[in-house]
């Protein structure tokens, strides 16, 4: 059987009666059984819950009940979010199992209400930060495009599951790039939403003032469908926004004619560590959009190198506040990489933290001036393709650029889309950034690009059996 690889295709096939949710979900579970031991995407697989959801979805279709495009879609949840019918671990020995037991995070509650088939809980970097630690009882995630390469973090399992067709969509979280990194390294689409767009209640924190929950899927259309289910205020999260949510699919076919694209050359395109292919494929994305009618102007977003530092420092200071007591008493229960990164929060002062927030105010004003002149910015998502995991050095990473963190500091929405492949066959990615709450616009731009390219539909060799792109 030819299986659809996008939510959009699957939703159409389900409504045309060409496939059932039970068939789709069974195929996803079979794929998980075949591949999970190799690529390490799932911590827990909830076969019975997934199949019960699928059968309910099929019964609903038969009865004429349609809850929207996620109904009957095999879907999975990053194990940082509480789910009422599966354990929540944060990929850690530290998290009290009682914390996430017996209830759904707001985002999960909303996804469940769509009638999606929930396959289980996905691997992540411990507490959404750090690096895999093979000495701990959790799967080590691997990049399906090269098993020796990092799949990116922290939403590693979601990235792998979507890339391999184990799930057609999933949830990630993003504090400094954790939706966009695995989407980029694994070759699909991921949206970091505006801070406050999706309520965080029921999601274990990393950086309180930066965290966001976002959709990960093959395409911009799919990401829009997922966001439609999740966006909107909830009083349980006081940082969630009362700004009205939109229908993110309503205008997605609107194209980019007249769209003004800002290209921030400084830092984002001239950093000495930027890989030439990461740069050239991003410039090629801009050219494609220009060919579709967009205008392109160079802009300057000053102090973006400092914005990376401010974002990292804010994240680690807030994280260390949350973890300090456990770190003092259970240091070695944390993974090696996790504890060494979070503990950096012990090395900055309270004044440094406040200074980072003063810098944040300044940078936000500078960025607002830029966004008054353009509709979106486009940058590379990653400065190089996925590294060999064994060669990654935590301290050396401090010196590399981050093209994602500045937009967490700003709270802006940012969409990672596949932009091509390196000479070694590894995915590359471009990032489309919008003003606050401009998710519909960045998704429309991403969709326009994906209507004339097919990088987002490429499937790694390891997952090709039974998949037709």
């Amino acid at each position: 059987m030819t299986l659809p690889i996008t939510i959009q295709e699957a939703a159409a096939a389900l409504r045309a009666g060409e496939i059932s949710s039970a068939e789709l979900t069974s195929a996803a579970l079979e794929r998980i059984a075949a591949l999970n031991g190799t690529v390490g995407a799932f911590i827990a697989v909830t076969d019975d819950i997934a199949m019960a959801g699928a059968k309910q979805a099929d019964a609903d279709f038969a009865a004429g009940v349609d809850r929207g495009p996620l109904q009957g879609i095999p879907f999975a949840i990053k194990d940082l979010l509480a789910t009422k019918d599966a354990p929540t671990t944060a990929n850690s020995l530290i998290l009290d199992p009682a914390w996430g037991a017996g209830y759904d995070a707001v985002a999960v509650e909303r996804i469940r209400a769509t009638g999606a088939s929930l396959l289980g809980k996905l691997v992540l970097s411990e507490f959404a930060i750090g690096a895999p630690d093979a000495t701990k009882p959790f799967p080590v995630p691997k990049n399906p495009w090269g098993l020796d390469r990092t799949p990116g973090g922290s939403s590693s399992g979601t990235g792998i599951a979507v890339a391999t067709g184990m799930a057609l969509g999933g949830l990630g979280t993003d504090t400094g790039g954790s939706v966009r990194f695995p989407a980029a390294y694994c070759g699909h689409t991921g949206l970091k939403v505006t801070y406050g767009r999706v309520p965080k209640w029921g999601c274990a924190p990393l950086g309180y003032t930066l965290d966001s929950i976002g959709p990960m899927a093959r395409s911009s259309w799919d990401a829009a469908a997922i966001l439609n289910a999740m966006a909107g205020y909830d009083p349980r999260d006081p940082t969630s926004s009362k700004a009205p949510a939109e229908d993110y699919l309503a205008g997605i076919e609107g194209g980019v004619k007249g769209l003004k694209i800002g290209v921030p050359v400084g830092y984002f395109f001239d950093h000495p560590m930027l890989d030439p292919e990461a740069k050239s494929t991003t410039l090629a994305v801009i050219e494609v959009l220009k060919g579709l009618g967009a205008e392109v102007v160079e802009v300057d977003l000053p102090y973006s190198a400092q914005a990376k530092e401010a974002n990292t420092m804010t994240m680690l200071t807030e994280a260390f506040s949350y973890h300090r007591m456990d770190m003092a008493s259970r240091w070695t229960d944390y993974g090696s990489g996790t504890r060494q990164i979070i503990a950096r929060g012990a090395f900055t002062s309270a004044a440094d933290y406040v200074q980072a927030q003063r810098f944040r105010s300044y940078y936000a004003k500078e960025a607002a001036k830029v966004m008054a002149k353009v509709d979106v910015l486009i940058t590379p998502t990653i400065f190089e393709p996925a590294q060999v995991a064994a060669n990654m050095d935590l301290n050396k990473r401090m010196l590399s650029p981050s093209y994602t963190g500045p937009f967490n500091l700003l709270g802006y929405p940012a969409l990672a889309i596949p932009s091509g492949f390196s000479k070694d066959g590894l995915p590359l990615s471009a990032q489309i950034v919008g003003a606050p709450f401009a998710e519909a616009l960045v998704l429309r731009a991403g969709h326009a690009y994906q209507q004339v390219t097919d990088f987002h539909l490429q499937v790694p060799e390891i997952a090709k059996q039974g998949v037709v792109a």
Binding site: A343, T348, Q355, A356
Partner: protein
């Protein structure tokens, strides 16, 4: 704030103040990391930020009857 002359001593003091007991290998990694972290943090003290208010918001909580 300049990087302290005796980085190992400064790192040891900050780890102790935070209640963290780390291995010798981890301690060496922190000693290697700390000057980079300090220098990165100091880049945030720029003249343009001098009169900025921090991006911090606190909302006073009204009395909660029956709590």
């Amino acid at each position: 704030m300049p990087v302290p002359k005796d980085v190992p001593a400064a790192v040891r003091t900050m780890l102790e103040a935070a209640g963290l007991s780390v291995s010798e290998e981890e301690f060496k990694a922190f000693v290697e990391m700390y000057p980079m972290l300090r220098e990165a943090t100091d880049t945030l003290y720029v003249e343009e930020v001098r009169y900025e208010e921090p991006a911090l918001v606190f909302t006073p909580v009204a009395p909660m009857k029956g709590a």
